[in-house]
Symmetry: C2
Subunit: 416 residues, 2 copies
């Protein structure tokens, strides 16, 4: 870095800190009080921004961790915060079935969880899809098949009717109901209710579903602005499967509606290449003044591609889920994984990742964590979860720095 | 409290803080460098003391929490420390079967766990017993029966031979081996290897076992002083079952040997009354200048009785084990328990215990924890474990205060 580049970087930090001279600002701040989105720096299509919320700012690009059922798995809220987490999400579908009344009565997710930073709730639309196809993500992301009893009864213009997986009671989620639940849950970001489609259905069916999703989104938007209490903002969702012409229609739809942010959802494609193509196409068509979230994506390869296309936030259960199988995230391995349950770590007295400053790596060694896994001690998963959370936050921090200094390639080559 | 009593109390605090004018001091400080035990105040037989160790001081009476396999279950070391824990213990038997080489290589338990406070390791003797009778504590404490495959092969003068419950390999634990393992694990307090007997065996068998335990204790003592590195101290164990004459012999034995501390072990009796009688008898016979530990006792009723007889420390898996079944400790209920899994807590938006200052009660409500239990979220058990740890430490703090102001009865009536 030359002295000129260094001064430039310092000036950028000052601009970000004092909120000066953004390249782009949200045009919807009157509609969403307490919220804003500003981009302070671009590197090609990648954006270094800040999302402002009533619960604090999110430096973007950022990763959103999953507290699906209003709880972080294998870790705690203080640990999540200590490891630099900016934002977490909970799930409307799961909480609607259990916990909604409790969270509502306790004054919302922030209070119930003791998490005083930005939160997002998704709408439950993805889970409606997941139930229909008996698999959470096979058709969207090519993940491993999982079998469980299908619970969806029907999807019609009004909404989705299904059985609760807790007590088999029949429940109905509509756009209005989903938004009402999300208003009561009180997250900073609320997401419209949509239908998520499989890659196995026809283009015609994808189109019909997308059109219904758009009508649901409009109903979500109307209900939201009629009933919200002035401290939340709404994200629309782009659908259209892997069909470019449909994605174009869906982009035009969300562009035309006053959503504070836009989430890229639905089936993105079977292969990594197909997924990247869909994301790239969509990002080209979206308006530039709103934060864009890529739903359910957590591999570093996909995150780097998303960032390069202008995606601002990502979420995925991946970092915390693999932790519960003994797998830590590190740079420069296959899928960035290190399986600490393997015998070769029995005598490995190094940290998970040598450079790591996470709460785990400050104290614990691979051999000790391996021993805990083999002894069936749950603390192993807590230690790895905390590490993985720190790791993802560190990757995003490095990505932000990469955009700031016009060098994303070095960051990418550090990790992948 | 009168002004005179208050001044007295302040003077006592000053004495404790500056280590002035103890009533009793350990006579074994030359043998155990870096260790001491001082009693600053007595109320009847109850003792308000301090145990000094190379890893800090323990204000007594104190409770020792179980990190059996070198890990706290359902919580973390930082959480344990945050909730005022003074000392934890690990188990030689479990670590001998898995983890010993790792912990040894990492420089001992303190370093491996990142716990820089006093620690104790027990000798494995209790587990030898537990395996023999196919139950961990049925015969000693009348706890619920648990069945698992017996693994003990034989107990002879040399030691105990058994199969590892991990891989069915044959392993042998002798007094010398147990002490060597404990030296390598590096806890501040090491416990002699003994044989623990059932209440179902004859007096003759109890006597024979006790006599062998004494020979094992002597071998433990000799091996310890020959091989220890000068930063650990040794506890002897009183055996003799429920037979007063045998307990007398065993008390005479431990009194006569230079153990830094004395643990009361073996079968104490089936009923609470019988247990209290055994403890009371033993405490009457023991020398007064050493810290006395009551092994495996965790009910408040028994702790109060123990304290009244002069016991200085207690340990039990109880507070953390019941937490993993959704049960929180609170004052003034049956066995001090509150079962948060019960439906009646669904709409209970109060803290677990209204006065509580623990990391859980600062933020979380009964209804939220109940919801997490019903959703299968592990965080529930973390929150309850942390509360139970704080609760036990708070009880012990109040007990210390009760001794200081000559009023244990008020403390007892606050909790029981």
């Amino acid at each position: 870095m030359t002295i000129y580049e260094f001064i430039n970087w310092i000036l950028l930090q000052i601009c970000i800190y004092f909120e000066l001279f953004p390249l782009i600002s949200s045009s919807l701040t009157k509609l969403y009080k307490g919220f804003n989105f500003k981009i302070y720096k671009k590197f090609k299509n990648a954006r270094r921004g800040v999302i402002y919320t009533p619960h604090g700012n999110i430096q973007t690009p950022a990763f959103i961790f999953c507290a699906t059922k209003a709880s972080m798995k294998s870790t705690t809220i203080p640990d999540v915060i200590q490891n630099n987490t900016q934002i977490i999400l909970s799930n409307t579908y799961h909480l609607f079935l259990k916990g909604y009344d409790t969270i509502k009565r306790l004054g919302g997710l922030h209070k119930a969880l003791g998490f005083n930073k930005p939160m997002l709730t998704d709408s439950g639309g993805y889970q409606v899809f997941a139930m229909n196809f008996h698999s959470v993500s096979k058709d969207i992301k090519g993940a491993k098949n999982r079998t469980y009893k299908p619970t969806l009864i029907k999807v019609d213009e009004e909404g989705a009717t299904f059985r609760s997986y807790y007590d088999r009671s029949i429940v109905k989620l509509t756009p209005e109901k989903s938004i009402q639940v999300q208003i009561d849950l009180g997250a900073d970001f609320v997401v419209v209710f949509d239908e998520c489609t499989s890659s196995t259905i026809s283009k015609e069916a994808t189109k019909k579903s997308m059109e219904m999703s758009h009508r649901w989104e409009t109903r979500s938007l109307e209900y939201f602005h009629k009933h919200q209490k002035g401290n939340q903002s709404l994200y629309g969702i782009v659908q259209g499967g892997t069909y470019k012409d449909l994605r174009k229609i869906s982009c035009d739809y969300v562009n035309s509606k006053p959503f504070f942010g836009i989430a890229v959802g639905g089936c993105l494609g079977e292969s990594t290449q197909e997924m990247h193509e869909t994301v790239n196409y969509v990002m080209d068509k979206l308006v530039k003044d709103r934060p864009v979230h890529l739903l359910g994506i957590g591999y570093l390869e996909d995150i780097f591609n998303g960032v390069e296309q202008g995606i601002d936030t990502f979420d995925c259960v991946h970092p915390s889920r693999i932790a519960r199988h003994g797998i830590a995230l590190i740079p420069k391995t296959r899928k960035n994984q290190l399986d600490l349950s393997k015998g070769k770590y029995k005598d490995d007295d190094t940290k998970i990742w040598n450079e790591c400053q996470c709460s785990t790596c400050k104290t614990y060694k691979r051999s000790y964590i391996h021993m805990l896994i083999k002894s069936g001690e749950h603390m192993a998963y807590n230690l790895i979860t905390n590490h993985n959370i720190y790791f993802m936050n560190k990757v995003m921090e490095d990505i932000r720095y990469g955009i700031e200094i016009d060098d994303l390639e070095s960051v990418k080559s550090k990790y992948i």
